[in-house]
Amino acid sequence: MRTNDVMLQTATKVVTFIILMFAVHIFFAGHYTPGGGFVGGLLTASAIVLLMLAFDLPTVKKIVPINYVVLTAVGLLIAIATASASIVFDVPFFTHAYDYFDLPLFGKTSLHSAMLFDLGVYLVVVGVTMTIIQTIGEDE
């Protein structure tokens, strides 16, 4: 007998977005305070896993039609490319660059090349976590 999951599904529809927004917040917070791509990635993955729990795998695959292995590869490439940019500028590998910019709406903001690396980390974490969970979940 299938249990009644109306409450879970209804709550999930709201909570998922809260988690996703919080993931974005944590991702950018990682610049100077605790947080960053790894935690942000895990939070995002947990939001998707919550969707999977509340609904089922096929539904979630329809909502988020992403091949997570490809996502991992893209994340890896972004991260390596950011780190490798230092080769072009002939400074030691992984050397980062940053500057302050006046952006509309945000005001004076520091933009940092490490953020791009972190974006790669974020994608890899989401990709790997979801690949693992999907592989285990599909195997029944």
């Binding site: 490439l77 080769i87 400074v91 030691p92 590998f93």
Partner: protein, 493 residues
């Protein structure tokens, strides 16, 4: 400052990521994988020429000052190992294209191989002990994927053992690193080499050194920590086995080599004596295994253990002859083990079994293959002028010059056992009454035999041209014996 040292690590990583994008397109997978390894080989050659003309190449990541950032250091030893491991990977790749099977090729076989290469090259290059842990984890992750790749029943069974052993040894590794950090306050290898002689508490450092020996001993398969190796290596297909046999244990050996010459030198009387005794016991245990089995895979697998013992014995002597011998033997062993595994792989393809007793009389139908095998077997045992000889000679000389003449005698005696163990394969498989063989078509046979034969030819060149390679080997040995060269290159940029 030179980023060149990082190229052999970054290139396979990029290609591995690219390969993950299109797993089902087998022909593209093959082409891109070979292009990736070839590009790595070219970069390793550049690095090699740079190191041999300009000396040690050190770069500290992220432009941080040296003891605080992660240093990558490419000295002659590490570049020689990077070069040989890349070479081995290339030939194994050629061998695996016709043998590994389309199904495996479509499930991320090539990315896993390239990730393995990233880890191996990184472990050989890094100058930071925690970073060494990270790179060993990278190569272990790839090896977990490879050992279970294909998911056959024995593979699944053995991979659980392999995983368990490696997770335990990794946990030990982290704890050992933590102990080391709490005593010395640094993890940069060059900085460790400066700080450790200043510390008076030799007792605790000796404990840490032995702990590291245990940790690396698990990876390198020394006595009595090799118990996991014969079973685990037996399970995966031959191409993967060749990669593991040629590269993985060598990372452990390299780690012992580096740490025991660069900074764990405060109590040589105890630590290196222990290393010498363990090395000899490893050789003896390996010989027993190599002679006990009638399975060709098992025989060569136990020969890995013997070689580990021989190399570590040379290091434990801490004199020029011993260390140079170890370096030469290490390079030789990577090439010859890969070659032998591939040769044995061809044998199992031809006979359809790896049991020696079901083989026989192959010399009539495959004469060239037979003689190639004999050359590789002689090379392994160290018959001059083949590549096993110069290394072993120097190691034995190191033992006589040092305090362990008995160890040298054991190595000389066991060389005969090594010869016996591989010639036994030759006698059973190539002499006698022809046994039932599987007919394989000429083209398939050539596609696996040619890369193998070239690899054997390379070991012959290494042996016959030893005089040519010796200057590089003594360069590498010099850095090991004079840590100040290494320290200066990293800390005084």
């Amino acid at each position: 400052m030179s980023n060149l040292a990082l190229f052999p690590i970054v290139i396979p990583l990029i290609f591995a990521a690219v390969l993950m994008l299109f797993p089902k397109n087998v022909s593209m997978q093959r082409i891109v994988a070979i292009a990736g390894v070839s590009a790595t080989l070219v970069s390793a050659l550049f690095l090699f020429s740079k190191v041999s003309t300009d000396g040690i190449q050190a770069v500290t990541l992220g432009s941080w000052p040296a003891p605080f950032g992660i240093s990558m250091v490419s000295d002659m030893l590490s570049v020689l190992l990077v070069l040989s491991s890349t070479l081995v990977t290339l030939f194994v790749l050629f061998y695996s294209i016709p043998t590994i099977g389309v199904k495996r090729e479509q499930s991320y076989y090539y990315p896993a191989v390239l990730f393995l290469m990233t880890g191996v090259n990184g472990a050989f290059t890094t100058g930071d002990i925690f970073n060494l842990f990270v790179f060993i984890e990278v190569l272990l992750m790839a090896s977990y994927a490879l050992i279970v790749h294909g998911g056959e029943k024995p593979q699944l069974r053995e991979s659980i053992k392999y995983l368990l052993v490696n997770i335990i040894s990794s946990a030990l590794f982290v704890s050992a690193v933590a102990y080391l950090y709490s005593v010395t306050g640094t993890l940069n290898m060059a900085d460790l080499a400066v700080k450790i002689p200043e510390i008076e508490a030799v007792g605790i450092l000796t404990v840490i050194a032995v702990l590291f020996l245990v940790v690396f001993g698990f990876k390198a398969a020394i006595f009595p920590l090799y118990f996991w190796l014969p079973g685990s290596y037996f399970a995966p297909p031959m191409a993967i086995l060749a990669l593991f046999g040629a590269l993985l244990t060598k990372v452990g050996v390299y780690a012992i080599m580096r740490t025991y010459t660069l900074f764990f030198t405060m109590n040589i009387g105890f630590t290196h004596e222990l290393l010498a005794i363990i090395a000899i016991l490893t050789i003896l245990a390996g010989c027993i295994g190599a002679l006990a089995y009638f399975d060709v895979k098992k025989i060569i697998i136990y020969n890995i253990i013997i070689a580990v013992g021989v190399i570590l014995f040379g290091i434990s002597q801490m004199n020029a002859a011993g260390v140079e011998g170890s370096i030469f033997y290490l390079v030789h062993d990577m090439l010859i083990k890969a070659a032998l595994f591939l040769l044995v792989g061809i044998l199992t393809v031809i006979f359809g079994t790896s049991d020696l007793r079901k083989m026989g009389g192959l010399i009539k139908s495959y004469p060239l293959f037979g003689w190639t095998f004999l050359i590789a077997a002689f090379g392994l045992a160290g018959i001059p002028p083949l590549s096993g000889f110069p290394g072993k000679l120097l190691i034995v000389q190191g033992g006589f010059e040092g305090t362990h003449f008995w160890g040298s005698l054991v190595i000389l005696a066991t060389s005969l056992l090594v010869l016996l163990s591989v010639v036994r394969i030759f006698i059973y498989a190539f002499w006698g009454e022809p046994a039932k063989i599987v007919t394989i078509d000429r083209k398939h046979y050539l596609s696996i035999f040619v890369p193998t034969a070239i690899l054997v030819a390379l070991t012959v060149v290494l042996g016959a041209g030893a005089e040519l390679f010796m200057p590089f080997v003594s360069d590498a040995g010099e850095v090991l014996l004079n840590p100040s060269l290494y320290i200066d290159a990293v800390l005084k940029e």
